[in-house]
Every structure is written in structure tokens, then in C-alpha cells.
Symmetry: C2
Subunit: 215 residues, 2 copies
Amino acid sequence: MTLYNYFRSSASYRVRIALALKGLSYEYIPVHLTRGGGEQFNAAYRELNADALTPTFVGEEGQLLTQSLAIVEYLDETYRDPPLLPASAVDRAYVRSLALQVACEMHPLNNLRVLAYLKQTLEVSDEQKSAWYRYWIDLGFSSLEKKLSSDKRTGLFCFGDTPTIGDLCLVPQVFNAQRMLVPLDSYPTIVRIASHALTLDAFKKAEPAAQIDAA
Amino acid sequence: MTLYNYFRSSASYRVRIALALKGLSYEYIPVHLTRGGGEQFNAAYRELNADALTPTFVGEEGQLLTQSLAIVEYLDETYRDPPLLPASAVDRAYVRSLALQVACEMHPLNNLRVLAYLKQTLEVSDEQKSAWYRYWIDLGFSSLEKKLSSDKRTGLFCFGDTPTIGDLCLVPQVFNAQRMLVPLDSYPTIVRIASHALTLDAFKKAEPAAQIDAA
């Protein structure tokens, strides 16, 4: 198995956590998202990933997969232990909704190409760019905190006491927020879950700083 | 079953297609996203949906679900006929990646609250706002067209000759693009699939213009 990815890419980080939790080994091929204008735009990489996004996953039989949550669901269906989704359809929908809240409502607004558009095309100031970043983090984390702090299914992790795809999305998003110096005092449940997750070897192994391409 | 939704909301439209394909009847409760500053911000609605987004789905036993793709996966797991995902894990991942490409890379950048932030906070011009809209549509549709026009799994629909969650995301995104007058001449496969889908009763029934809250 091969993962084309970037140490600091949030979507790559999600897949690394899943691979580590499943105990799967893989070849790590770095795709530097900023060096030389971005290696994701190289023709060779775009043959693998027309979107010029990371990660790209290549499975044991050469299956080429893109989109982090599609890759994670594939890993969960193919390598079942430990499961990354609960057993009942309703609980699965709840956990998926937590993951999608990060993946659809927060991360897309703050990824590299969006920030580049704001800066280069709309010519916003650095202050406006930071305010934009914080705005979407705060909007998303406020409602996630509300859910996680009130739902009885919350445990050591987003759902119960073992990691699910909710945590796979939450932890990289907390990493991003911290890197951008967004204050997280208003989100104690989120911070508690992310801190707990990072006590596990699988989450530690997937952290940006532990990757071969870490700056 | 109840669906709180808005006729023109792309995420609502996805769920309506799934419900129609499964032949499920439901109560339609309109949540007007612009009237009176947006009914999604009303306290009563936020009790159901902390994110103040549509749709919100309430199942037969009162299960409260949010996030369109989580709801669609729930419906597919609970009401299996017809299936909205292929049988093999690799094909499922491929179809999910098509859906996520719309749901994570295109739609989040062009939804109402993002356009409102651009206009009100960043004070961009109407021209800049339209250019932003077109930019993310073109970026997403370009790579989707490349995939769909070259992948052997493409049929009358995104995957084979029956609808999947890929089509559930694609058709509302095409509707959005057309409404915003984005030229689609460069995306013949996408246009062909969306046009074919709209010959089916289930897709017609889910169309914005067919809803009780249509303007």
C-alpha cells in the first residue's frame, strides 16, 4: 500500500490515523504542497489525482483511491479490526455527521488553495485572511462542542471510548487550529478528546511532526 | 419521516433524491434560508440542528440526523432497495470519492453563508463574487469531467446505469451551476448524466421547482 501525502495536510492526516489504527504498513510518498509552486500540480501526480489534492491511496492490488473519507471507509470495510464506525445505522449516521461537519463545513474553507485565492485573487490582507480562518473554525467548533458536550454517546472519544471516523477528522482539525493560533478555550470537550487521542500510539504515529517530510 | 429542508438547498436536494429513489414518503417542512434573515437561525430549528444548516432528517423512530451524506448513507443502510452504492469496496470508494468531490471541494465554497461572508465582511463586488463561484465550479467540474469521461465504470450514470450517491451530489451541483449561469459546455459527460437523471421520476420529484416552498 502507498500513501501519497503531505505531513501537514489535514486530509492526509485522517488517512494516516486510520492506517495506524488498523495496524497497516504502507509506503509514504511525500507530495510537498508549497515547494516549487506545489508538487501536487506536477503532471505525474495529476495522473494519479486529477484534483491535485492529497492524499492519494494505492491499495494492495493497485487500486487508486482519492478523497480521505472515501479512503477511510474503504479501509474500514476491507480491514475490519478495529471498526471505525459504530454498529447501528443511526449511530453510524451520527458519527458520519461529526466527520462531515469537519470535512464539509470547516476544512474546505481553510485549505491551501482557498487561502491562496483569498490572498492572490481577492487581495485580502493577512489580517482578513486570519479572521476568515478563525471564523470558520469557530463556527464549526461551536456547534461540534455543543453536540459533543451534550450527547450521551460522547465518551473518551467522539463516540464512546474507542476512536471512530469522527476523531479521525477532529484531531487534524484541532492541529490546524492550534497551528493557526486559534484560541480553543471555548471548546473544552473537543480539546479533551483530541488530547486523549494523542496519548494513543496510532495517533502519535500519524502526527505531522512524526512524518518523514516534516519541516 | 420528516425532512426539514429548503427547495433550493443543494444538500436538501441530495436527500430528496435518495428518499424518492427508495420510494419513501415523508413530511416536508420548509426552512426558508433567506426570509427574515434565515429561518435556519430560529431557536426552534437550532434545537434540531446546531449548525443552522439544512437538511435535518427525522426518522421513523424519531432519530434526528444531520449532514446530507450521513443521512443518505443511513437511508441506504436502512432501506436497501435500490442500493445507492456499488457492491465492492473499491467501487464504493470510487463512488464516494465522486460524491465527496462535490460535497467537500465544490459546494462548501459556494453555499449561502460563504457568499454572505464574501459580500458582507470582505466586501467583494458582485463581479468578484460571481468569479469566485465560477472558479470553484470550474475547478471541481474539470476534474470530475476528466474522471467520468475516462473511467470505464461510467454509464448512463456516474457509475453504471443506475443512480448512486455520486449522481445524488452531481445533479444538484449542476442545478446550482445553471442557476448561476456558469457555462457547462466543457463538461459534456456531466451534463449528459444530469440530463439523463432528470428523465427519471425520482429525480423529477426531488427537483427544486417541484417543492412546496418553490418561489
